[in-house]
């Protein structure tokens, strides 16, 4: 039975352009990005003062929910709107990739020996990239909001004893890259393996409840990734909290 199950920790190459390797997760990333971008462009063209509902209305409701959520964390609508494009893109990208990977065809359509599609979030390089973007942008926003000195003052003060805590804080913030990326990768990859194993054990009706579980996990992980980034940005760009 173990021989039937095809599980690979790393994404597999499906094509080469010169020395540049195209992996199956990159193909999925391009497809989901195109679908997401074109869907949003279509929705944005249909925006009217009195929305008629339908596709644009659904997207509008989604955006409105996200924005309300952000307003609660950031404290004001203005600040929420400022960080909205980045955070909403992060959320929608992760969510659509998590869910897209649950479609039939993933792990079953093969090109030669390797699956043609692979969930982007089940590729450690992709999640590390997302985590790096999240952590680095938090610093960039903090510098933009508080200035270079203001950002440094978040970690160091004139009191030398407190500087040890500052160093500790910096180490803590850099380990966020690891925890962010491994949490997302681990959840989605483990889900994929779970589905493969259950499909091998109980092919009929067995995987159905786990599919439901994976839909839930995909949503929660997208939410957690975005929520944490949001909270960290809100904390590091808070002008009042910086002076204490």
């Amino acid at each position: 039975m173990a021989a039937e199950m095809h599980v690979s920790l790393a994404p597999e190459p499906i094509a080469h352009i010169g020395s540049f390797v195209i992996t199956n997760s990159m193909l999925t990333a391009v497809i989901t990005t195109i679908l997401l971008a074109s869907g949003m462009i279509i929705a944005s063209r249909q925006i009217k003062l009195h929305p008629a509902g339908g596709f644009a209305g659904a997207i509008e409701a989604l955006i409105e929910t996200l924005l309300d959520q952000m307003e609660q964390v950031f404290g004001s609508r203005q600040r929420a709107l400022y960080y909205f494009p980045f955070l909403a893109t992060l959320f929608l990208f992760i969510l659509s990739n998590n869910w897209f990977a649950l479609l039939p065809g993933f792990n079953t359509i093969h090109l030669g020996d390797v699956p043609l599609f692979r969930a982007v979030t089940a590729d450690l390089s992709a999640t590390i990239a997302l985590a790096l973007v999240s952590v680095v942008l938090t610093q960039v926003y903090a510098i933009r909001e508080l200035g270079v000195m203001g950002n440094l003052r978040r970690y160091f003060s004139s009191n030398p004893a407190m500087n040890i805590l500052g160093v500790q804080e910096i180490i803590l913030e850099s380990t966020r890259v690891i925890s962010f990326s491994f949490r997302l990768f681990g959840n989605i990859f483990a889900g994929e393996v779970l589905l493969i194993v259950i499909s091998a054990l109980l092919p009929i009706l067995g995987p159905t409840p786990f599919w439901g579980l994976e839909i839930f996990v995909g949503f929660i992980q997208a939410l957690v990734f975005t929520m944490l980034t949001m909270v960290f940005i809100a904390m590091s760009t808070d002008k009042e909290a910086a002076h204490h």
Binding site: V7, L9, F182, G186, N187, A190, I220, V224, M227
Partner: protein, 75 residues
């Protein structure tokens, strides 16, 4: 014991031991959240949100253990 069975044993033990801590942790989080909602039902949505965030943090540890189990098995 040969290397293959050692590997299987190690993978099984990794996730078995690794799931204990997060299991207790998630139980504690859910118990406290239920208690808080019971005391103040209006705060349900806020408590729920914080609870899910806390669970995601705790669950990450179990997922790390699971990942290492996979790495032992498949690499």
């Amino acid at each position: 014991m040969d290397a293959e069975s050692m590997k299987n044993l190690a993978a099984g033990l990794t996730i078995a031991i690794g799931a204990i801590g997060p299991g207790i942790g998630i139980g504690l989080i859910a118990a406290k959240a239920v208690e808080a909602i019971g005391r103040n039902p209006e705060s349900q949505s806020k408590v729920q949100q914080t609870m899910i965030l806390g669970i995601a943090f705790t669950e990450a540890l179990a997922i790390f253990a699971l990942l290492f189990a996979f790495i032992i098995l498949f690499l």
